[in-house]
Amino acid sequence: MHEDKHWDIVIRPRRRWLDIDIKGVYQYRDLIWLLVKRYFTLIYRQTVLGPLWVLLQPLLTTTIFTVVFGTIAGLPTDGMPKFLFYMAGSILWQFFSGCLTSTSNTFISNRNLFGKVYFPRLCMPISTVVSQLLNFLVQFAVFVGLVAVYALQPGTAVKPNGALITLTPLLLLQLALLGLGFGIIVSALTTRYRDLAMLVGFGTHLWMYFSPVTYSSSMVSQRFPQWARLYQLNPITPIIDLFRAAWLGAGSASARYMGISAGLTLLVLFLGVMLFSHTEKTFMDTV
């Protein structure tokens, strides 16, 4: 029998589920960066406003939310300026749903490429998430600027919580991993069940309404106390709550549900990577 150590690559029929090539992904890190670069080179090509769209998109969404949910429906915003309140929710949600939907078609939309050359397939969704994160950071910078403007005014209700703000990177990481996890689970399943691709757009939209994006979660606990506990099990809920508590000083987040959310994130991510790695090896035979 040959010893594996003399060989760089040994290709065997798949046997184990936990065959995850993290080392390979690291070796291909330059590819991830180039893919991110490609994303930004290409996404705004032949548009009039170009990169301005990164800012326009959330600002427009926030304006719509403010008008529809804040002014017309008159939903409470925990005493916060409506625009800031909705902006926090909408940029976080767009970041999450962007990670989810744009990684969910990894196999289907790259099947021509995947069918011709090997590289760790995880590079694709990872680069997508990094691109989404960079997009988000631009929007986030504008948000921080607006928070500063509001917070410096006399008698303002906006009181950023310095201690909680330090948790922001962790929140963003958690949101990214959650989106990645769900996205690659869907991408792996869509190689066999194409219907799922149709459901993703609808599902994430529905999910948004079950998350405190267009309203505050304190409203849920006041009006529907019997559902409050279940509502907090949505892993997105405590993340958005904590983010608002940190940057606006509004509402609060429970450490317990935050912990559950983090646990769910790791579980989803683990399942996703496992399913994805399992699928990548032979999906060319099924697609």
Binding site: D8, R12, D30, R38, K116, T282
Partner: protein, 426 residues
């Protein structure tokens, strides 16, 4: 054995046939749950035994074993569907084998339909970086080779133009330049030279030869046997998923060229035909009459009798013989003057075929019955692609003592040049 870069060990690959995406999530969950409880799968066909299930799969590769060393330029030849591409896909890790193991030392770069991963909106330079990264190079490694790649691609003035503005030739040149200059330990090429102009094809071939000479390995798949013969120093032949020959390129090419009969008596009736040939008029037997073996001397004559039947009348029928040389490409053609056949008759013709000018070697014969249309085209009644072989034996004396090299000189020996005068110049 440090020279070994690739070992393929009893590898098989099985594909499921039929509708693959026809399963629903619900059916899969039900099957899985039943398996979990040790029950019979509710979705399996009733009475389906393993032997029958095997009938719904295709063995693309069966127990293939192969070792490749540094410096090997290995040709993989076989007909369509023999498993060549599957084998390359396994080596380049696009899919996994069903059984067996493949061991690789070093880096593999594959030219499976080159230009993979090129994005039309990126510039040539950006695409070089991206393509390099996809093939496993770091940015720094690609940057170090950038100059060489651009030089090789011959498209320097356009390197900062988006590749969507490239002609398809430029596109291929760039793609080949990237892959060939990454110095992989194993370079996989699948029909890459189909595009690009002749000069560039020659350049690619010599580049691939260099790769092998620099002590790396090249795996080459092509139906273009001329390039195969030119490039490779070793050949394997795949037949219906089995590796039936591992030896010289010539041997592999010979197997690919057809295993046509070497008998004197040939039953043409049983051989396959293209669509709608052999219906109105059909060849039945061919019998070689003037030799005990199938060998002929240079400039000899082959005599044979051909029997057939006609269900229609054709006053101007001809027999055409097309010869195929060792590279399975057409080498020569000759045909008979017209003769008449009548509806309902069995006919027999005796033919003498002069072999003047044919170089020594083995030839495959394709026989056709046809008539001339008013437009000067051929109207075929019957065609037998692989009607058998004959050999013209080498006789250096006929060629002023030189041994004939088919690879360099082709299949036709022209009449000697005539020396018309000679003088000594001051």
């Amino acid at each position: 054995m440090e020279d070994r870069v690739l070992e393929i060990d009893n590898v098989s690959k099985e594909y499921r046939l039929g509708q693959l995406n026809g399963r629903t999530l619900q059916a899969d969950v039900a099957s899985w749950f039943a398996r979990l409880r040790g029950l019979e799968d509710p979705n399996s066909k009733i009475g389906a035994d393993p032997a029958r299930i095997r009938g719904e799969t295709l063995m693309a590769l069966r127990d293939v074993s192969l070792n490749v060393n540094r410096g090997d330029a290995l040709a993989i030849v076989g007909r369509n569907g023999a498993g060549k591409s599957t084998l390359l896909k396994l080596i380049s890790r696009i899919t996994l084998p069903t059984r067996g193991e493949i061991r690789i030392r070093g880096k593999v770069a594959s030219l499976l339909e080159i230009g993979t991963g090129f994005h039309p909106d990126l510039t040539g330079r950006d695409n070089i970086y991206l393509n390099g990264a996809i093939l496993g190079m770091s940015r720094a490694e690609t940057a170090a080779r950038m100059k060489r790649i651009i030089e090789f691609s011959e498209i320097e003035p356009f390197i900062d133009t988006p590749v969507k503005r490239y002609s398809s030739g430029m596109y291929v040149k760039l793609a080949f330049a990237v892959a060939a200059n990454l110095s992989p330990d194993i370079l996989i090429c699948d029909e890459v030279l189909a595009v690009g102009d002749l000069a560039f094809q020659q350049k690619c071939l010599s580049k691939m030869r260099d790769v092998a000479q620099e002590g790396r390995a090249v795996l080459y798949v092509s139906h273009n046997l001329r390039t195969v013969a030119e490039l490779c120093n070793r050949g394997v032949f795949l037949d219906a998923g089995r590796l039936t020959c591992d030896g010289t390129v010539d041997r592999a090419i010979e197997l690919y060229g057809g295993t046509g009969a070497r008998d004197l008596d040939r039953d043409l009736n049983a051989l396959p035909r293209p669509k709608r040939r052999g219906e109105a008029i059909r060849m039945h037997t061919m019998r070689i009459t003037n030799t005990e073996s199938i060998e002929y001397e240079m400039d000899g004559v082959m005599r044979f009798a051909l029997e057939g039947t006609a269900t229609i009348s054709e006053p101007l029928l001809r027999l055409r013989v097309t010869l195929f040389g060792s590279l399975a490409s057409p080498a020569a053609m000759t045909q008979s003057p017209p003769f008449e056949v009548r509806a309902g008759e069995r006919f027999k013709i005796d033919i003498a075929m002069p072999l003047d000018g044919l170089s020594p070697g083995e030839y495959g014969m394709k026989l056709s019955l046809l008539a001339l249309t008013p437009q000067g085209k051929s109207s075929y009644y019957d065609t037998v692609e692989d009607a058998g072989k004959f050999i013209i034996s080498e006789d250096p004396a006929v060629n002023d003592g030189f041994r004939w090299s088919v690879r360099k000189w082709g299949n036709f020996r022209m009449n000697p040049l005539q020396l018309q005068s000679q003088e000594v110049l001051p």
